[in-house]
C-alpha cells in the first residue's frame, strides 16, 4: 500500500528523521537557526518547521498515551493474535499450538459461513438505505432555506441516541405483542413476528441500524453540497438544467469523495457498531438470522467460551478493519489533494 496515506508519503521523504537527535545536547531548548532554508526541514513527516529539540520531554508527554495503548490496545491485540493459533481444553489448563486449525475450523463451519452472509447482506442493505435516504434529505435541505435549521435539528437527533436505545425503540414498535406498528401489520394481514421469522428480524434490525445512522451521512452530505460552487450550478441553470439534472451531473460528481468516504464509514458502522442494536432487538436470532460477525465474536467468546475460535474471528475482523482504515486514509489523501 505505497500511497494509502498522506502520512505514509511523508515518512518516505524523511529517511533521516532521527539524524539530528544528538543536537539535543547543546542547550536546554536549542533553537534552529531561523535563516535556514525551509525546504530542508519541511519534509520531516508532520513535524512543525519551527520545533523544539529535546530528548526527554516529548517522551514524558507521550507517556500517558503510550501506556494506555500498551495496556488496552497492544497487549490485547497481540493476545488475540496468539490465541488464534492456540487450542485450549475446556478447563483452560492446557494450551496447544495448532497453527491455522482454528481458522480452518472456523471457515468450514456452516454457522460462520452463514454469519458472513448475514453480515454482508446486513451491511449492504444498511449502507445503501442509509446513504440513499440521507442523500435525498440532504438534497432537499440544500434547496430549502426557511426552517432548514429546524429540520436539521430533528434529523440529527438519532445521533444522540445510544444504538442500544435505538434498538429498544424499534423492537418496541415492532414487538408482536404490544408494538403499534406490529398491530397495524397484523391488521393488514401480515403475519409479522421477528421472534420466529428470520426475515422479519433481519428487516427490523436493518431498519433500526439505518434509522440510527442516517444523521451521520446527512451531516456530511449537507456540508459537501454546501461546498459545491454556486457559479457552476448557476451556469448549468442558465443552460437549462433543472434541479435534478444539476444534482446528478454537477453536485454528485463534486461530492463523490464524500460519498465514497461515507460508504466506507457505513461499512465500519455496520460491521462494528451495530452490536448493541442486535443485542437489544434479536440476540442474533432467530436461528442465526441476524448473527453478524461482531455479535458472533461476543457469543462464542463470552457465552460459549470458545476462546480459540473467538480469537480467530477477532483476527479476521481486525483484517477487515485494517482494510477499511486503508480505504479511509485514501479518502483523507484525496481530500487533501483535490480539496473537495
Amino acid at each position: 500500500m505505497p500511497h494509502t496515506a498522506g502520512t505514509l508519503a511523508e515518512v518516505r521523504r524523511d529517511p533521516g528523521g532521527t539524524a539530528a537527535a544528538p543536537a539535543a545536547r547543546t542547550a536546554p531548548v536549542p533553537v534552529r537557526p531561523l535563516g535556514k532554508p525551509a525546504s530542508r526541514a519541511a519534509g520531516r513527516a508532520g513535524l512543525k518547521r519551527s520545533h523544539f529539540r529535546q530528548a526527554r520531554l516529548p517522551w514524558l508527554l507521550l507517556l500517558p498515551q503510550l501506556l494506555i495503548l500498551a495496556l488496552f490496545f497492544f497487549i490485547p491485540a497481540l493476545r488475540a493474535l496468539a490465541q488464534a493459533f492456540l487450542l485450549a481444553d475446556p478447563f483452560g489448563t492446557r494450551m496447544q499450538f495448532v497453527w491455522f486449525d482454528n481458522f480452518i475450523a472456523l471457515l468450514e463451519s456452516p454457522e460462520y459461513q452463514s454469519s458472513v452472509w448475514v453480515t454482508i447482506w446486513f451491511t449492504l442493505a444498511q449502507n445503501v438505505l442509509t446513504i440513499t435516504v440521507a442523500g435525498i434529505l440532504a438534497f432537499a435541505t440544500d434547496r430549502v432555506i426557511r426552517t432548514r435549521g429546524l429540520y436539521r435539528t430533528v434529523i440529527l437527533l438519532p445521533y444522540a441516541i445510544a444504538p442500544v436505545i435505538a434498538g429498544i425503540l424499534w423492537a418496541f414498535l415492532f414487538n408482536p405483542a404490544v408494538g403499534p406498528i406490529a398491530h397495524a401489520l397484523h391488521a393488514l394481514g401480515v403475519g409479522w413476528d421477528p421472534n420466529r421469522n428470520g426475515w422479519d428480524a433481519f428487516v427490523l434490525v436493518t431498519l433500526a441500524a439505518t434509522w440510527k445512522h442516517i444523521c451521520y451521512d446527512y451531516v456530511f452530505l449537507v456540508a459537501a453540497l454546501l461546498a459545491v460552487p454556486a457559479s457552476l450550478l448557476e451556469a448549468a441553470a442558465v443552460d437549462g438544467a433543472g434541479p435534478a439534472l444539476r444534482f446528478v451531473r454537477i453536485s454528485l460528481p463534486m461530492i463523490g469523495p464524500t460519498v465514497f468516504f461515507l460508504l466506507v464509514m457505513n461499512f465500519v458502522y455496520g460491521l462494528f457498531e451495530t452490536f448493541a442494536i442486535i443485542d437489544a432487538v434479536t440476540h442474533g436470532g432467530p436461528a442465526g438470522a441476524t448473527m453478524i460477525l461482531v455479535y458472533k465474536v461476543y457469543q462464542d467468546g463470552f457465552v460459549h467460551i470458545d476462546l480459540g475460535s473467538s480469537a480467530a474471528q477477532s483476527v479476521l475482523l481486525m483484517i477487515f478493519a485494517v482494510i477499511l482504515t486503508m480505504l479511509q486514509f485514501r479518502y483523507v489523501e484525496r481530500n487533501v489533494n483535490y480539496d473537495v
Binding site: V11, G17, T18, A21, A24, R44, A45, G46, L47, R49, S50, F52, Q54, P58, W59, L61, L63, Q65, L66, L67, A70, F72, F73, I75, P76, R79, A80, V133, F139, A140, V144, Y151, T153, I155, L157, Y159, A162, V164, I165, A166, I168, F172, P180, H183, W211, V219, F220, G242, F261, M265, E273, D279, A280, V297, Y298, L307, A311, L317, A321, T325
Partner: protein, 306 residues
C-alpha cells in the same frame, strides 16, 4: 437558490417533513407508551395520544432502575472519557508535531496504528487484560501514580494494586475507551495548521516548550476541544458493550445498562410503559447536548472523522 421553482420547493419540504416524521416516529410512540398505565399500553388498539401518567411512570422508572445512581456513573464515565482522552491526546499530539527526538517516527506509528482496530474487534482479549490484572506493568503504574492522575481527571479516586482487577471500577470503564488515537490524530492535524510564526515568536521571547503549549497552543485549540468534547461525551454516555461486560454489580452499571434491565423479558410483567419512559430519561442528556450545542456538535462530527 438558483431559480424559483415552487413545485420543487414544496416537494423538498414534503421530503424533509417525511424524514423528520420518520425520525420522530419511534420517539413519539416511546413517549405515548411512557405516559400510559400498563393496561393501556397492552390494549390492542394501541393508544395514539399521550396519557397522563408520564411523571408517575418516570418516578417508578427512576426508582426501579436505580437511575439516580446510574446517571452519576454515566456522568463520571462520559466525562472521564472526554477529559481523559482530550488531555492524553493533546499532550501526545504536541510531542509528535512540535518536538524532534530520537525514535519520533516509532512513537508516531505506535500511536497511529491504533486507529485501525475498533474496540469491538479486540473485545475478548481486552477484557482478559483488564480482568487478569496487568502484573508486568504494576511497578510502572505505581511509579507514575496513574491512579492519582485518573483521580485528578475524573474526581474519583481509583485504587490500583497488584491484584488489579478493573471489573466494576470506573477505571475499567474509562481507560480502555481512551485507548485509541482518533483524538490525537485530530489535534495533530490541527497543530499542523497553526502558523509557524507563533512558535518562532514564543521561542524568541524565551518561552519553554510547556509555556508555549500552555499559553499559545492550548488557547488556540479551545474550539477543537469543545467540538471533540461533545462527540466524546455522546460516545461515553452511549457506550453499551463495554459497560455490559465490565460491570457485574448493579451499582456500577451505567444508565444505558440500567435501562436494558428494565426492558420486559418474556418471564416478566410487560411494563413497557416504565421501560419506554426510562428510555426517554436515559437519552435525555445526550439529546440536550446535541440540540443545544448543535453547531459545535456538527463541527466535532466532521472534524473527528477526517
Amino acid at each position: 437558490m438558483v431559480e424559483r421553482a415552487r413545485g420543487t420547493d414544496i416537494a423538498c419540504h414534503l421530503i424533509l417533513i417525511a424524514g423528520a416524521l420518520l425520525v420522530c416516529l419511534p420517539l413519539y410512540f416511546a413517549f405515548v407508551a411512557g405516559s400510559h398505565t400498563v393496561a393501556d399500553v397492552l390494549a390492542v388498539p394501541f393508544p395514539l395520544l399521550p396519557g397522563d401518567q408520564f411523571l408517575e411512570n418516570a418516578r417508578v422508572a427512576w426508582e426501579k432502575g436505580n437511575l439516580g445512581r446510574l446517571f452519576v456513573n454515566s456522568l463520571i464515565v462520559a466525562l472521564g472519557i472526554t477529559v481523559g482522552k482530550i488531555a492524553v491526546s493533546l499532550l501526545s499530539a504536541f510531542a509528535i508535531s512540535y518536538f524532534r527526538f530520537r525514535y519520533r517516527m516509532l512513537a508516531f506509528w505506535l500511536i497511529f496504528v491504533s486507529l485501525m482496530l475498533p474496540v469491538e474487534v479486540r473485545i475478548l482479549p481486552t477484557y482478559e487484560s483488564v480482568a487478569n490484572a496487568a502484573l508486568p506493568l504494576q511497578w510502572l503504574i505505581n511509579a507514575l501514580d496513574v491512579g492519582g492522575w485518573i483521580g485528578a481527571l475524573t474526581g474519583q479516586r481509583v485504587e490500583i494494586t497488584v491484584e488489579w482487577n478493573m471489573i466494576n471500577s470506573y477505571g475499567g470503564l474509562i481507560l480502555p475507551l481512551i485507548a485509541s488515537a482518533t483524538a490525537t490524530f485530530l489535534f495533530r492535524q490541527f497543530f499542523l495548521t497553526v502558523p509557524e510564526e507563533l512558535c518562532e515568536a514564543a521561542r524568541i521571547d524565551g518561552a519553554s516548550p510547556l509555556r508555549f503549549f500552555w499559553s499559545v497552543l492550548l488557547p488556540l485549540s479551545v474550539s477543537n476541544m469543545v467540538a471533540l468534547a461533545i462527540i466524546l461525551f455522546l460516545y461515553g454516555w452511549n457506550q453499551y458493550l463495554w459497560p455490559l461486560l465490565f460491570t457485574t454489580e448493579r451499582d456500577m452499571a451505567t444508565a444505558v445498562i440500567g435501562l436494558k434491565h428494565l426492558i420486559p423479558r418474556s418471564d416478566m410483567e410487560p411494563a413497557w410503559n416504565i421501560a419506554m419512559n426510562a428510555a426517554l430519561l436515559v437519552m435525555l442528556p445526550p439529546v440536550i447536548v446535541v440540540v443545544v450545542l448543535q453547531r459545535w456538535f456538527v463541527k466535532g462530527l466532521v472534524d473527528s472523522s477526517k
